[in-house]
């Protein structure tokens, strides 16, 4: 049968893929549809998206914002096949020694520039009437965020889990804003190249089918679920307890129907409009982009931006099939 | 009239503005033993390198058996330099074997089995004649300077070149060892009858060894422009007919050039 390559990187919402691979669930579904799926772990998240954009992979995991600014902005028509979860506290703004968000004014803030952390910060500032100019952003690699935070010169960071929990465990660290205040805006997706999807719907069916079987397996406190989550925890460098803590601040869509409902909502369209305008402001949509709507984003609630230049699509078709038990 | 083995016809050699040799005219017959003396930098090595084919004349002609000189080194002309003449990564025996291997194995440059044994036989004979049979398996760095030069000579002579070029081969050796080498080289020359060119700094050595002695020197000296004029052969002496006074005359003329250069 056909061979497909899927890239993933270590993050709480994507660890199920690793479990799916090691437990054989993914292979089972691939066999069912007569295809082969190779799941490739990539340490560096951005690199995995770049590879997908360059054509090295048929699908990759990424956030809604990165899906817009990297593949879609590079002209690679992409479809969000699975809406796996949204961050519900997993991303946070943390201050050292200060307890209020308004204390952030004038500080240096260490974060991965142009990432969802940057977006979260922008939303946090917006919520108290500040703009980005009121702070100074220092680009900092996520791998070093924890180490960097221990130095006295670093007083404010915006980052994601597991870094958030590591940092909060240190004395005098206060979470002043997190993604639970903007629920549903930072979304973790599995994105597939639209052309590949059209040519091989089997790939979509196998991936979605596998995903919801994994979801079913990992939920709850049964021995099987514990084993699954332990495996995910260890693979991400922590243990069951650490992983469960991260899950707690992640709104997983364990049921396909929930994911479909989220995708169909008008809120998603609004979210993408906000993300597009943030991206445009930061030059992420490319030099040629005249406005935030330059790249069309299609969702069940309608199209945001240029209808003739749709490059990012939210398509609940296959998740619907899963919800209907038709896979 | 028979063609001379080597002939130079109004030969000039210049490096840019620096004229090294000018107007060299000379003929050499097969079997001569020519020793060359001259002050440092006068162009002796340059002349030898032309005979090797490493340098080409700027003007004039240099002929080998009546034909233009080959423009690169070949196995008809052997050479021994003052240093670096043997291969440091090969033992004495393998150094001597090398030219056989080059000839018989164009692909690997290595002989095996019977061919190798035969070649080794010949190499050992050659090493016997230069007195190195007792160190066959040693590397050059384990040998004294004199032994290294003997090895270089054995290596150069084993394929019986027509011409042997020696550039101060004994310059770095002790006077005592030098005398041994003289005996050796004269013996080999008598046996094989090849043509030898040998550069030396020691006028006495030149007179003792050669059948013919050349002095390279500048005829014209310009203190304002030491490199404007080149050297040529100022003395060309059949060494059979040497007189004491001639020795003195050469020694003085060299002395003058030397003084001139040192200032």
């Amino acid at each position: 049968g056909d061979k497909f390559k899927v890239a993933w990187s270590i993050y709480v919402g994507w660890m199920p893929w690793d479990y799916g691979d090691s437990s054989g669930i993914l292979k089972k579904w691939a066999d069912k549809y007569g295809i082969e799926i190779e799941l490739v772990q990539i340490n560096d998240y951005v690199e995995s998206i770049n590879q997908y954009t360059a054509g090295g992979f048929d699908a990759a995991v990424m956030t809604n914002m990165d899906a817009l600014t990297i593949p879609a902005a590079s002209g690679v028509d992409s479809t969000a096949l699975i809406v796996g979860d949204f961050s519900n506290g997993n991303d946070a703004v943390i201050l050292k020694g200060k307890k209020e968000l308004k204390d952030i004014k004038g500080q240096n803030i260490n974060l991965v520039e142009l990432s969802v952390s940057h977006y979260l910060l922008a939303r946090a500032l917006e919520s108290i009437g500040l703009v980005e100019k009121d702070v100074k952003v220092v680009n900092t690699s996520d791998a070093d965020m924890v180490a960097v935070y221990t130095t006295p010169s670093v007083t404010a960071v915006t980052t994601w889990n597991p870094l958030v929990s590591e940092i909060l465990a240190m004395p005098k660290s206060y979470k002043v804003f997190d993604s639970s205040k903007i629920p549903g805006e930072i979304i973790d997706l599995l994105v597939v190249n639209t052309k590949t999807l059209k040519k091989s719907p089997k790939l979509a069916k196998a991936l979605v089918g596998a995903w919801y079987e994994i979801m079913a397996n990992m939920q709850g406190n049964g021995a099987k679920a514990i084993e699954a989550r332990t495996s995910m925890g260890v693979a991400s460098g922590t243990d069951l307890k650490g992983y469960d803590a991260q899950l707690a601040s992640t709104k997983m869509f364990y049921k396909a129907a929930d994911a479909v409902a989220f995708t169909n909502s008008a809120a998603l369209k609004d979210t993408m409009a906000k993300v597009a305008s943030f991206s445009f402001d930061h030059g992420l949509l490319g030099d040629g982009a005249p406005n935030a709507g330059f790249i069309g984003i299609e969702s069940p609630a309608g199209v945001f931006g240029d209808k003739k230049n749709i490059k990012l699509r939210f398509d609940p078709t296959y998740m619907q099939m899963a919800a209907d038990g038709k896979l | 009239m028979a063609v001379a083995q080597i002939e130079a016809k109004s030969l000039w050699k210049e490096y840019g503005d620096n004229t090294v040799l000018e107007q060299v005219n000379v003929q050499v017959e097969k079997g001569e033993f020519i020793t060359i003396v001259g002050t440092s930098g006068c162009g002796k090595t340059t002349f030898l390198r032309m005979l090797l084919g490493v340098e080409q004349p700027s003007r004039g002609e240099l002929l080998l058996d009546g034909k233009a000189f080959p423009a690169e080194p070949g196995d008809d002309r052997g050479v021994v330099f003052q240093r670096y003449s043997v291969f440091p990564h090969l033992t004495v025996l393998k150094n001597t074997l090398l030219s056989e291997e080059f000839h018989q194995s164009r692909l690997l440059g290595k002989l095996f089995g019977q061919k190798k044994e035969q070649a080794e036989e010949r190499a050992k004979e050659m090493l016997e004649s230069v007195g190195l049979s007792h160190v066959l398996g040693q590397y050059p760095h384990q040998l004294s300077g004199g032994m290294q030069q003997r090895l270089a000579i054995a290596q150069a002579l084993i394929r019986k070149p027509k011409i042997l070029l020696l550039d101060e081969p004994f310059g770095a050796l002790d006077p005592g060892i030098r005398a041994d080498m003289h005996d050796l080289i004269l013996g080999l020359w008598n046996e094989t009858g090849l043509t030898i060119f040998m550069i030396t700094h020691d006028l006495r050595e030149g007179f003792y060894l050669g059948t013919r002695l050349w002095v390279f020197d500048k005829i014209r000296l310009d203190p304002q422009c030491p490199h404007c004029f080149g050297s040529t052969i100022t003395y060309d002496i059949d060494v059979g007919q040497t007189k004491g006074s001639l020795f003195q005359a050469i020694d003085h003329s060299l002395e003058d050039s030397r003084k001139f250069l040192v200032q």
Binding site: N43, P162, V234 | G109, K110, A156, R159
Partner: protein, 271 residues
Amino acid sequence: MKRLLNQHPDTTQKIILGVLPFVVLLLIYLVASDARLVKNPDDKLLPSISDMGRAMEKLALQPSKRTGEYLFWQDTGASLTRLGLGVGISALIGLFFGILNGVIPYSRINLSPLITVISLIPPLALLPILFIVFGLGELSKIVLITFGITPFIIRDLQGKVLELPDEQLIKAQTLGASSWLVIVRVVLPQILPRLFEALRLSLGAAWLFLIAAEAIASTDGLGYRIFLVRRYLAMDIILPYVAWITFLAFLTDYILRSVSVRFFPWFHSTK
């Protein structure tokens, strides 16, 4: 009193003096670690020796629950394989072009400027391109190492060939050698020990590129593990891993040197 530059320590002094700095460093670490741990027993920055021992025991002596492998040894094996392949391939390419460029003027003039320019490109800046061209598998890691050290090896060996006394090449030709025979019998054997030296000089860079590559795309390897646990500031794993890498670097250097001394006695005694 003799002048300082004429004073030589005796054997006992030598040993004491040589070991002293390490002992001092160790003491400083122990004191600093202790001080931090007293203030905050959960401090991860300077773990105690026993913490490190426990962490390493888990990685080196207990099979991983997930895969049943001994992670530490798996990491070591994966990294050494990549390093070996990368350095080995670089050695072959370096040897080939080093000798070619050193011996054949046409080749040197054709390729030298290009190699010089390539040697100036910082490979880390090209990482994204390398990954896109060579994919994310083992290949790209080996390519990064190769890309990082080969230009240096080529240039070094080319220089070493050019340093061979001209007299040797001339002599070989008067003994009847063709260009090819000069290469295989005169140049190659004399350049091999220099290749070993060049490799020893490049090993540091090779480790660097290996770690950088493993940090970006990998599922095992010493560099991967360090980057994975960096997020949790697990210094109890990072420090022993760094020490282990340092030891491996020392070991490879030692092995390369021993092999060279063993096979090229003439080279090491003339120096």
